[in-house]
Subunit: 237 residues, 6 copies
């Protein structure tokens, strides 16, 4: 369960800061490699993962008529993705064909999904860019997903961009990319990342004022700690 | 021959929709992989392919002085590309050196070419971005083409981004990428894609209004067909 | 030593033109492959290279606490990079983790560095985009550099994007990418590139007026030379 | 169900011939890309697929102690793989760590498995080479699978070397590599492949005797058909 | 024209030695990257290049029935390849499907071809390994070439493994790989390579006897030249 | 310092077993990716690392005449590599040109080096295969190293096949590949690996006798421990 408090915290921190918080706990592969926002809207994507797994398509099983089946896993997954969730597609890093197009992404938006991520590519990306739902992928891919992908499993553990993704893991996307926080750590990682962000904002301000990073970042000098305490006081953070 | 009617239709549809129309006929590899517009101008690129084939450059054959030869295939191709055609360069997906620069692209524009595509990279891309000709490539490549490429054949069948391209095939580019329609299918694909687009616009509107995709997309429910007919009536499409 | 005159010349020419000037002298690999500006500010980056070499990180040597050491090569390099220099990071083309983040880049900016380049990726790229320092990389990489990279050597000869970079080589970046000029050739390459640029501007103007490239580019026709001389006279270049 | 007759047929034909028989029916992606036999023993591997799916490993879930759990999917899969089956591992084409080692492969051998295939790499390959069980992979990978892989699903549809593999599909390996026959086509493909092999053996003999391939392969000349009929008669095939 | 004398010389030298002789003349890309012998027979492959160019296959043009056309470029090329020539296939480095199989290679052998090279893969490689014709490729590829490749041009300049290959260039393969000598340089390169080989044999002998490479390789010490002269005398080379 | 006892132990264990021992201590990247023995002689390569770092070659600095300089780092490194050491070359995973050839490898052998490793390729590999020195690389590369590589640093920390290698680290190669043991852990890793090997040999024997791996591997059943103790007694290990 993602609490409102944690969601709010994760809205304000960067994937970079989260990556460091995870790194401190021994996690090195939670960043989804090689995806970027289609059109970053200025606000972080935050939500629990709801996954769709693709396997390589077999020709006889993938005529366009398959979508007439209401139980087709791709369509079913879109209709089952809970409000607030991030729809994560394991496309085996293959962007030769689309993971989905603007109609499905629009449907996810309307249903209240917090965002969509594929380690392959979406199609209709100019339309997706105009939708009010955060979308992350590798590169545009016009061909229909049936060309290369066959939806096979809904909400199972998957890989996405070489990162492990378990259903319910907390997925955060910013202007750079997407990171996956193991569900049981979301609260403490969010808390720590907010604290780190306050400090990084202080450091950035000081660096822009001309201070050296030595002793400042990390705060190995006593004076840094004193200054930071004063700065927090002043800023009310 | 690309008719004006077909050209106009292809101006209004997406590469994604065309890819699906081609997929229905068994074509899976017509999308040029891994190219994107340098600066999309909002209007589709449409035209028959006029090709240039590069092979790996051999050092003794590629001093800069080769361009003093008016018959050099790269320069000759630029001067021979017919108005309305799309200039397609087979760069063997190698973007370590340029396929061409802004001067040649400007010349193609002035000569009336409908666009340029390379599965390698162009140079002078900030200048190309300012030209009124659609240009698609993999990534900027400042080094002169002689570094890696040697122009060898004009208007022969080639590969571009793993897609087969025959001279005269109809090449369409949009905000996502580029697709190649076999010449003999251009009319019927264009016609079908326009029809598909009307339906997809209807579906998008309904999805944004909150309707489920099940039964709607594809239109497996009778009501969808009824609603779509009414919508077309109303919209005059 | 990079003279002001040469720096000024290099501010006005493109990496494409420089690549050709280098190619004429037998240099084929001076363009840093697969990097691009994070947010091009309209002005070229120019400066001598100051390098940092990364090697693959070993887990026991890279807890986050390493940055408490003021002599850590990454931090030390940032504090030692001379004003006017371009900070070039050999990240072995590995963008799975960051080469640096916005705080270090800000510090380099404040210290007067002319720019930063990595053949891996930076983190905090939305913040870096807002800084007034040219920054080039492969793609955003949120994970801390410790995940994959260990800073090991300061200002030694390195590879960056498959290009050789010696400390003191003149590094130039524009809207496309980055090129490395061997130090001893900087003056003559700059001079030649300025001259080439004048000619290319003339050619571009003529091409946009409708002239064929044959005989014009390169100037194999006598008339071209006459016209160019007149044009220079007129433009005062 | 794989009949003994079909198994026997598939023992005598090559993956190349099977690929062509599949191609005739519209299947283009059934060959597992980029795997080879560790030590081909001269006899084809034939059996229904029993699959294991790996996802990227998460550090906290993969200490070496996980194998103390008898229900760990990797160990469970090995103990459940039916005699006669081919154990197919979806390693996401990642050979940085092992898919399995010699002890598990030995156990599969003893349990009667028909072979093992991974699109990643095995470890202890010198020992595996000495075992009497066909084994196919990409390249040796000494690191324990926990480094990169986490076993997550047993006997579900997977991808292996970009080929779709459904449990029960018939997997055939020869001296070149491995191909996957959709279960429902195994009998007819086997039958056709045997017939094709007879013809190819005839053609090979004629080619080695000096006959041109034109008219012979394929048999577009009447004489070829006559000769082939006689040859079959003579050879009793 | 490849003289018998030059052919004989090229039989005795390595691709490594030839690469150095070419490098001295400014050629850096004549080695065909990433191919190896299927089963090296101990004798070099030497002959002029006869090329076949593949483009990406388009589905409607590549049913298996295409081979019923005697003019199909793949079959035509095999029947036209002159005795003594090396059959070089430009497969765009794509080994997902076969460049050719054992029957065509056998036919080339019977017709007297000096060898076959593809930068993709051959099928039926266990059979090819048994044929008395040198064969070089990237990796085995069981699928029929129609899956991915369409033969389009015979004996035109091509790329093979990133090397430029012009018809008539002299192609040499040894136990390591394949190199392409520009036709007009074959005689002098062969001559020089033989001389270099004599010296390298001398050096190897001395190194195995314990001498340092400094002063010996290259022969910067006068004594080395004296010793080498004596050694040649003694060996009669 | 590598003791004789540790060297002897490391001679008897596999890189796979060492990888697991390292994994238990948190090391995930010590296996050199994508190298293999040129011709495994049946005995492990063991020795401390002595490194050579290559950077990308710049044309003006790499005529063949550079080797006339006795201080050229490549030649100097070969003459300075201590007896018993493993010569590790950081070739940036680039096998387009040779890291070294048979003469240098022969010299290293004569000087008593324990082996050579490159994450690029060696040339003259048929000759190297015949030498009595373990040699590991990615693939044969005939072109002279000057084509792509410039030797720049001797015995500094480097990357090799994505693994960190510090001078003095203990490098072990077997029939599969090469692993790097941090120097300070060599004794304890060797000791543990020998113990693990004894247990794995026991397990293998039991598995071949038909025992299930559950409870046996790892030894979670009490009976396994009893049996193993008895087996050790019996075997005297």
């Amino acid at each position: 369960m993602l609490s409102t408090a944690t969601r709010d915290k994760l809205k304000q921190v960067s994937t970079a800061t989260l990556a460091t918080a995870l790194y401190k706990r021994g996690f090195r592969n939670q960043y989804i490699q090689n995806v970027h926002p289609i059109a970053f809207k200025g606000e972080n994507m935050v939500g629990p993962a709801f996954t769709l797994r693709y396997m390589p398509a077999r020709e006889d099983l993938n005529p366009v008529s398959v979508f007439q089946d209401r139980a087709h896993p791709q369509r079913k997954a879109v209709e089952e993705c809970p409000p607030g969730a991030v729809f994560v597609v394991d496309s085996r890093k293959d962007a030769r064909a689309a993971s989905a197009g603007s109609i499905l992404v629009a449907r996810l938006m309307v249903r209240g999904a917090a965002g969509v991520v594929s380690d392959g590519g979406f199609r209709d990306t100019p339309d997706i860019a105009a939708l009010a739902i955060p979308s992350y992928h590798q590169r545009p891919a016009a061909p229909t997903n049936l060309t290369v992908h066959q939806a096979i499993d809904i909400n199972v553990p998957v890989g996405c961009g070489d990162a492990p993704v378990f259903p319910g893991d907390i997925v955060v996307g910013d202007g750079e990319g997407v990171i996956v926080i193991p569900a049981h750590l979301a609260d403490e990682i969010a808390e720590e990342a907010v604290e780190m962000t306050v400090f990084e904002d202080f450091v950035t301000e000081k660096v822009l004022e001309g201070r050296t990073i030595l002793g400042l970042y990390p705060a190995t000098e006593e004076q840094t700690k004193v200054d930071f305490a004063a700065w927090r006081q002043e800023k009310g953070r």
